[in-house]
């Protein structure tokens, strides 16, 4: 015991005990307990603790190590200030003073821009295709192109991606062709998913992009398990998973964050906080809030008065949870391609080098409707949508930066837009003409091989189909 009481007696009040085994603290006490009766030994043990000054007693429950306090003080639900949002470019695409621009040369920047434009073009044409009844469903990425592409550009091809469903730009960056996108949307035989899922449920083993599924946030714990596997295999790679503000409310978010931190998994949690989960605005999704106070001067025909307005704005619901899990986190302007690129690059480095998870809350705006099954004008104003579509377009913002570097011109723009449109339409027409997958694909891949019950059911179905008019039978 020797030195320990000496150190503690002379210690300032807020000194925290250096790490030591929890068990060893009590060894001497338990030895005494064995010699006397339980009650007497317990008394003795308690008294020996009283040898220390009361102020030096440290919180040493297994659940936490901290100093005690005699002042009862609840922790406020909100910090004094919202977590600041990292950005490099202003809304007009100009680098802010003091910004440290990441290493993005002209070829990388132009490639990023090409992908954003192709994504935008694909989205607008395929959205229309659904409206015309040519595909059954579609979901756009409008407003989140910079977030998609810039985050993808900061990763390597060995990093495994677990998407939600609004990250087609990540897949496009990695090399999924327009034909491959179109084939899946038209559920034809060339589509990777063999026509089983709704449109936009893309996946690619070759590109390390796990197949999209509709349930929200179920991919988050998968990403943690995959990341753990990468760590154990000593790969220079991490897992990256995307989800929305809505997804952060799911139990799987909590499960995944906790597991990732405790098990030390190299995974990036990228939250696309785009303000809406279908019709539910962020302020109905999470509580962290900030009060905004305004003093207004009101003039009427007979009198004037001051009006004090106090209203709440959604504040810190998501990024602040990182600390609760013991996880590094950052808030970034999701519509600033350079900021996203820089933040994701740094996060990836931290994750891979230190086997730690990182939470990135990327602020953005969902310009499009949730999907073709949604009409968002029912719950938000047309002016709001128009504002974010035009003035706050992240693609335009990035283009301005390219133009300021003389890496892009009006002619380039015209050429790219024309070419992209042509390519997308061609891919769409090709995909539409292809056959649907064969009936056998209804039964394959449920298990690795067909079990007897499925063999029977397939035989029965084929029998039924053969007795029916050809129009009802697939090819």
């Amino acid at each position: 015991m020797g030195l320990l009481p000496l150190l503690l007696r002379g210690a300032p009040k807020r000194f925290l005990r250096a790490s030591g085994s929890y068990r060893s603290l009590y060894e001497s006490n338990s030895r005494r307990r064995r010699h006397g009766t339980d009650a007497a030994a317990a008394d003795q043990a308690v008294n020996s603790r009283a040898d220390h000054r009361p102020d030096d007693q440290m919180l040493d429950f297994p659940g936490a190590k901290a100093a005690f306090t005699s002042r009862m003080e609840f922790i406020s639900p909100n910090a004094a200030e919202a977590v600041p949002c990292f950005r490099i470019l202003d809304d007009l695409g100009r680098a802010l003073d003091g910004s440290d621009i990441p290493e993005v040369d002209s070829s990388l920047a132009v490639k990023m821009y090409h992908t954003m434009v192709r994504l935008q073009t694909f989205d607008s044409i395929f959205y229309e295709a659904q409206r015309q009844g040519r595909i059954s469903f579609y979901l756009t990425n409008i407003g989140e192109e910079a977030l998609n592409v810039a985050s993808a550009a900061a990763l390597t091809k060995d990093d495994v991606v677990f998407p939600q469903y609004r990250e087609h730009g990540v897949l496009m960056w990695r090399g999924f062709t327009l034909d491959e996108f179109a084939n899946q949307c038209f559920s034809n035989e060339a589509g990777h998913g063999k026509g089983r899922q709704m449109p936009i449920h893309y996946g690619s083993e070759k590109l390390n992009y796990f197949t999209i599924s509709s349930p929200i946030a179920t991919q988050l714990p998968h990403a943690v398990g995959a990341a753990y596997g990468l760590k154990m295999d000593r790969k220079n790679a991490c897992a990256v998973t995307y989800f929305g503000d809505g997804g952060s409310s799911e139990g799987d978010f909590h499960a995944a964050c906790n597991f990732a931190a405790v098990l030390e998994a190299p995974v990036l949690f990228v939250c696309r906080n785009n303000g809406y989960a279908i019709s539910t605005p962020a302020c109905e999704q999470y509580k962290g809030k900030h009060s905004i106070q305004l003093l207004a001067f009101v003039l009427t025909t007979s009198q004037y008065f001051f009006l004090f307005l106090n209203f709440d704005a959604p504040g810190d619901g998501i990024v602040v949870r990182g600390r609760g899990y013991g996880m590094t986190s950052i808030r970034v302007d999701g519509n600033d391609a350079l900021a996203v690129f820089k933040a994701v690059s740094a996060a990836r480095k931290l994750a891979v080098e230190q086997s730690k998870p990182v939470l990135i809350e990327a602020m953005t705006y969902r310009v499009g409707h949730h999907s073709t099954s949604d009409d968002s004008t029912k719950y938000r104003s047309g002016e709001e949508i128009a504002h974010w579509r035009s003035v706050r377009d992240p693609v335009l913002r990035f283009r301005r930066w390219l133009e300021s570097n003389a890496w892009w011109s009006v002619e380039d723009e015209k050429e790219l837009r024309g070419a992209a449109r042509k390519e997308v339409i061609s891919a769409m027409n090709q995909a539409e003409k292809k056959n649907k997958p064969p009936l056998s694909e209804l039964f394959t891949d449920v298990y690795d091989t067909l079990p007897r019950n499925l063999l029977e059911q397939e035989a029965t179905l084929r029998d039924t189909v053969s007795k029916n008019p050809p129009s009802l039978a697939p090819h």
Partner: protein, 292 residues
């Protein structure tokens, strides 16, 4: 590249199933997870999707429900076979134990038997458990392996030391007979054996089948047996309504209708949550089976 994880798995587990594994293989491969079933199965899926063998433990089958969403097994199908989580095996103690009450006694196998893509396997004794578990772990499909907790301490068996596997989707006739077919799994087979012995005294020759794999199940073997005997009793601890016995009864009724000499009987748990003090009345005991 195999991993064993779950709540309290590191020190050996609440049923000592994982004793010594952490020491043998290290705590990076045998480890505790935080207390979260949806997280632990989801984590297992991710590990398995990267080509590892992920052996997850759910401490009691009664707690498996938060993980149900993760366990709906569409991973291979929805990806067009680009991805799969066949390396996942979820082990969980299930079934009555005498004093378990609502939350330490349930038999949730029927819920999982309704999930295309999953396999559900239940052993009746230690030597079966070893062979079936090894087969489940190595099977390239996600498997839920329910272990009858009643038998952890009770069942004593000669277990071969080497590596061996028993085939999945293969039922086994463990007692041959000619008058009536009985089908069950897990701990219930011991009850059925008792009932068969009782019936033998009255001159009834019973054929007892251990289903072993509930999905995909061995319809052919059961069908062949019922074609021989003309009668069937299915018995399980889980509540009778919607229990897996219903699937067996419906299938055999379809296939053996003209051969059956009596309606198919199900001797099962009652349609109530699993009661504590009433357990002896709730359970499908040997008496109830004999009466049937």
């Amino acid at each position: 590249r195999a991993y064993v994880f779950g709540e309290d798995v590191k020190f050996g587990g609440v049923f000592r199933c994982t004793s010594g594994l952490a020491d043998a293989f290290g705590t990076h491969r045998v480890f505790n997870t935080p207390l979260c079933e949806q997280g632990l199965v989801g984590f297992g899926i991710g590990l398995a999707a990267m080509g590892n063998r992920a052996i997850a433990e759910i401490q009691f089958a009664d707690y498996i429900f938060p993980a149900f969403d993760q366990a709906t097994a569409k991973f291979r199908y929805r990806s067009g076979n680009a991805f799969n989580c066949g390396g996942l095996t979820v082990r969980s103690p299930y079934g009555a134990v005498g004093h378990g009450g609502h939350y330490h006694s349930q038999s949730p196998e029927a819920f999982f038997c309704h999930v295309p893509g999953l396999k559900v396997v239940i052993p009746r004794n230690p030597s079966q458990a070893k062979g079936l578990l090894l087969a489940s772990i190595r099977d390239p499909n996600p498997v839920i392996f329910f272990e009858p907790k009643w038998l952890y301490r009770l069942s004593v068996d000669e277990v071969p030391e080497g590596d061996y596997m028993l085939p999945l989707s293969n039922a086994e006739v463990i007692r041959e007979g000619t008058d009536i077919t009985l089908v069950a799994w897990g701990a219930q087979l011991a009850v059925m054996q008792q009932a068969c012995a009782e019936a033998e005294k009255e001159g009834i020759s019973c054929e007892l089948i251990d289903l072993r794999t509930l999905i995909p199940w061995d319809k052919e073997l059961v069908e062949a047996s019922v074609n021989k005997t003309g009668k069937l009793i299915v018995s399980h601890e889980a509540p009778v309504t919607g229990g897996f016995g219903a699937e067996i009864a419906a299938t055999i009724a379809e296939r053996c209708f003209l051969r059956l000499e009596a309606p198919i009987a199900r001797v099962c748990g009652l349609d109530t949550p699993f009661p504590l003090v009433f357990e002896p009345f709730y359970m499908p005991t040997a008496n109830k089976v004999s009466t049937a």
